[in-house]
Symmetry: C2
Subunit: 181 residues, 2 copies
Amino acid sequence: MVSQKEYKDIHQKCLSYFEKAGIVLTQNEVEDLEVTDFGLDRVQEMGLQLVVYVNTERCCAKELVLLPRQTCPEHTHPPVGDSEGKEETFRCRQGTVYLYVPGSKTDEPKALPPADKKQYYTVWNEIVLKPGEQYTISPNTPHWFQGGEEGAVVSEFSTKSTDENDVFTDPEITRTNENEA
Amino acid sequence: MVSQKEYKDIHQKCLSYFEKAGIVLTQNEVEDLEVTDFGLDRVQEMGLQLVVYVNTERCCAKELVLLPRQTCPEHTHPPVGDSEGKEETFRCRQGTVYLYVPGSKTDEPKALPPADKKQYYTVWNEIVLKPGEQYTISPNTPHWFQGGEEGAVVSEFSTKSTDENDVFTDPEITRTNENEA
């Protein structure tokens, strides 16, 4: 769980990232900024910050913030009901994102997950995204990502987002939003 | 048709708008920036500039630029095949956008279409979008919009975009991309 003190500190950092990226948010969006630690209680290492712009039955857009070297753990968006699962495009706006997807293992990857969690990271084809660069992830495709040394701001364009259906490789992970400070 | 000279001039303006908004584009995106005059040959009055980030079978994201007082003419996104039609969210990033949708007619609207085209503008419920503000348009809903005095940069998040299926109220309009300078 993210403590109130931690939430406030991370919230403030996110606002400065958004300001630097020229991204303007409404007061409601600022207040609703989500900080998740995926239930792992190590938010600086494994966590994600999100502002959801829109999420309808058909499409979704968010801004994501990654703190320096913060990892969003490996997961997939599996088929749900009639839907083949979430498709998402990550577009880097600021900083650097190291994204890992299925494919040839990259030699000397630029990001590593926390050592004690390495067994839960199974895809190692590295995609490096700098500002203006983007990558589209097909449904039901395992992926994980990490911010570079200066963190990152990433726009996500996708089909409907239903976090509760995400499947994480690490069995310890629960994706609940328990951090409303 | 947009002349090469006009295309170059507008292209340059768009790049300065994007720079001011902190939006970074790849070289390919810069080169592919689309300027459309909707076949009306009056691009400064009625036209739109677009960068398409992604457009898959399921979702689409674009950046739009409106020049000062430039109007995107009234149109709808009707059902196509099995799809109920395009749903789109406009999020203002910079400047002001005056958006018109069905509903009570706004007294003294802040934007007016060119006088000789007024009969092709049938919805007059005004939505004003400033940076950080957004509005979602349901499928098959007539709408039109105009940039404010200083123009505007607008992010569009939507379902699949198929310009050729758009239905414009003005019968003179053809939505072709004939402006590759």
